[in-house]
């Protein structure tokens, strides 16, 4: 039996094909200006890649911002629940999940058997999200991938104290003018992201093994900053952190269909 998880996020669409044990295939693309048709196209592509018909998929579960609008979904579920199911698939003993996506950051607290017992989300503000990091990369004229690597090389970090993405950008520009090295600025940016999300998580309880998911968990600079902030050597990051929500959706679909 095969199931499909579709995560229609604010910045990217993610699809996972699941056979009950492992990921058969996964696809990711930008949401663009028509995220629903983007998701439909990706869905057809996934079927075509494996010579499947829609009827071969026992159940499709949608999650993410566009979850309630995806016409091929049998059911929709909140991304908080899907991310948890995806993380528990890799790390069954996780106590908390930090998830940073395109425009949300969340911290999820898990109890026995990976059950969600609490969650907090950022308020209506882009600071500390994937979109914010994209904006920083753009200001510095690098790609998102480049800034992650640049931050790993060197020591020291400047303070980025602004709570607003736009003001943080002006803070970065003033640092550039006073000739602060780019890697120092970037570590400052990533530490400010880490500080925000850990402060959010401290409203719950950030103890025990912690996982990090979402598109931003692909950024080694942010991973280092969160470890630094948590004063911990270990942060569990799934192999493809960006597709954790879609994987969880596919897993929940598999459980429902079984």
């Amino acid at each position: 039996m095969l199931t499909c998880g579709v995560d229609i996020g604010s910045r990217t669409v993610k699809l996972v094909l699941f056979d009950g044990k492992k990921i058969v295939d996964s696809l990711v693309s930008l949401s663009g200006r028509a995220p629903q048709s983007q998701a439909l196209e990706l869905y057809q592509e996934l079927l075509a890649n494996h010579q499947l018909n829609q009827s071969d998929i026992a159940m499709t579960l949608a999650t993410g911002y566009g979850r309630n609008y995806f016409e091929l979904a049998d059911r929709a579920s909140s991304e908080i629940i899907c991310h948890s199911a995806g993380v528990v698939h890799y790390f069954p003993n996780i106590h908390a999940i930090i998830d940073i996506g395109g425009q949300d950051s969340k911290v999820i607290q898990l109890g026995e058997n990976g059950r969600v017992v609490g969650f907090v989300m950022n308020d209506r503000c882009a600071a500390g999200t994937g979109k914010f990091i994209e904006m920083v990369a753009q200001t510095l004229e690098f790609s998102v991938e480049q800034i992650a690597l640049l931050a790993l090389d060197g020591n020291g970090a400047c303070e980025i104290s602004s709570m607003c993405a736009v003001f943080a950008e002006s803070e970065i520009i003033s640092k550039l003018h006073d000739s602060t090295p780019v890697d120092v600025i970037l570590r400052g940016v990533f530490r400010s992201v880490a500080n925000r999300v850990v402060a959010l998580g401290n409203k719950l309880s950030l103890t025990g093994p912690i996982a990090f998911t979402g598109g931003v968990a692909q950024n080694a600079g942010v991973i280092e900053a969160i470890k630094h902030r948590l004063n911990s050597e270990t942060l569990f990051v799934p192999p493809k952190p960006q597709i954790t929500g879609a994987l969880g959706a596919a897993i929940l679909a598999y459980r429902s269909a079984s």
């Binding site: 911002y65 309630n68 929709a76 909140s78 908080i80 629940i81 969650f119 989300m121």
Partner: protein
């Protein structure tokens, strides 16, 4: 997902009492204008602590003028700070735009010191309008706090007598109390329709029945009609939500026409709001005025007992939540906090603990304003809570 579409609102039925209340503001504007032209006094107010009973006893019409529209907020922000409660901004915005005929017709505004933002906003309103502010004492268990509140109510009686050149006798007070008790009981009966399981009425439908002008007989007869029509729904097996829909007790700041965002989100996510522990729901009507003792003392006592977060300590809110969660068979509690409402915002830490530990129910606090910009983010939180509570 598709199942919830079966449970849509009854629309387009002009004979339904619910349709009447959806557009009752135009009837209110016309009624107030007619009454004003016949010489009746018009009194606007901004809070459940202002006793409608006393205004009716003065022969005047009490009108709740709390702003519930996003549209006036940008006007208000030309004077007020943007980081302020939307209810205060929206209310003040109407005085700038002149867009509320009910406010324009008011001869007197009565306000209260329930929060600092409102208190200072009233000073701005008082530059243009005749205004009387009631000082609400807030130590709810102290006799001397009540005595001061009673003195404030007595002073309001004098202000009304002077403004409208009438004498408010004990007999008039008692008549007004009886009339308002009847009206509060009717509102409570409508709210109590939420007790049915499966639900026969949605939280949004009940919210739409709240109106502004008190003592308006047409409203009372429509509420009676609504109760009859609810019986028809029961007989026909009508369901406003599936039997297993999560039943939500909404607590905290009041909603209103145009600011029902959180109710819409809860019901779009498959939940059903069964009762509001808020001024827009049960808070002002769960208790009536005692019609046997000294009327002024009885009026003061009923209003002093309102378990608003401005009172300290506010144990009455916990008691009311315990009572309502049992009576309305709530599965989860959602606490609505309007941005910058400090008392409800801080009190949520106590309420969250009480709901989880004493009532054993799931709890979610939502801090937002009247704008639609965070609808999708709120939906994630609400949907997660409802999904988890269902497991």
């Amino acid at each position: 997902m598709s199942e919830s579409k079966k449970y849509c609102l009854e629309t387009g039925n002009k004979n339904s009492a619910l349709s009447y209340f959806e557009s009752s503001i135009s009837d209110e504007i016309q009624y107030v204008r007619e009454q004003k032209s016949q010489g009746r006094g018009i009194v606007g107010f901004y809070c459940e602590f202002t006793p409608r009973d006393l205004i009716l006893a003065a022969g005047a019409i009490p009108i709740c003028l709390c702003g519930t529209s996003q549209n006036t907020i940008s006007h208000a922000e030309t004077v007020l700070p943007s980081n302020l409660c939307p209810l205060i901004k929206s209310s003040f915005g109407y005085s700038i735009t002149g867009g509320c005929p009910l406010l324009n017709d008011a001869d007197l505004l009565v306000a209260e010191t329930t929060c600092d933002g409102k208190k200072k906003m009233y000073e701005l309103l008082a530059k243009k309008r005749k205004m009387h502010v009631l000082e609400l004492t807030q130590k709810v268990n102290e006799q001397r706090a009540f005595d001061l509140w009673l003195a404030e109510i007595a002073e309001l009686k004098q202000v009304l007598e002077q403004t409208f050149d009438v004498e408010i006798t004990d007999e008039k007070l008692t008549q007004a109390i009886v009339a308002m008790n009847k009206e509060r009981s009717l509102i409570l009966a409508v709210q109590a329709l939420g007790k049915h399981k499966p639900s026969i009425i949605s939280g949004l439908e009940i919210a739409k029945t709240r109106y502004r002008v008190a003592g308006f007989k047409q409203h009372l007869s429509k509420m009676t009609l609504l109760l009859e029509q609810a019986n028809d729904r029961i007989k026909s097996g009508y369901q406003a939500a599936p039997f297993h829909a999560q039943r939500v007790l909404l607590t905290g700041c009041p909603t209103g026409h145009g600011s029902e965002k959180i109710i819409e989100i809860i019901e779009e996510c498959g939940g059903i709001v069964v009762v509001q522990e808020a001024c827009s729901g049960i808070k002002g009507v769960f208790e009536n005025v005692d019609d046997s003792g000294d009327p002024l003392t009885a009026i003061a006592r009923k209003h002093f007992n309102i378990p608003c977060s401005c009172m300290t300590p506010n144990k009455g809110r916990e008691e009311l939540l315990a009572q309502l969660s049992a009576e309305y068979r709530a599965d989860v509690v959602i606490d609505l906090v309007w941005q910058a409402c400090h008392t409800y915002n801080v009190e949520s830490a106590l309420i969250g603990e009480f709901v989880r530990q004493q009532l054993g129910l799931a709890y979610l606090k939502v801090e937002t304003d009247y704008s639609d910009s965070d609808r999708e983010q709120l939906k994630v939180r609400v949907q997660t809570l409802l999904e988890l509570a269902q497991c």
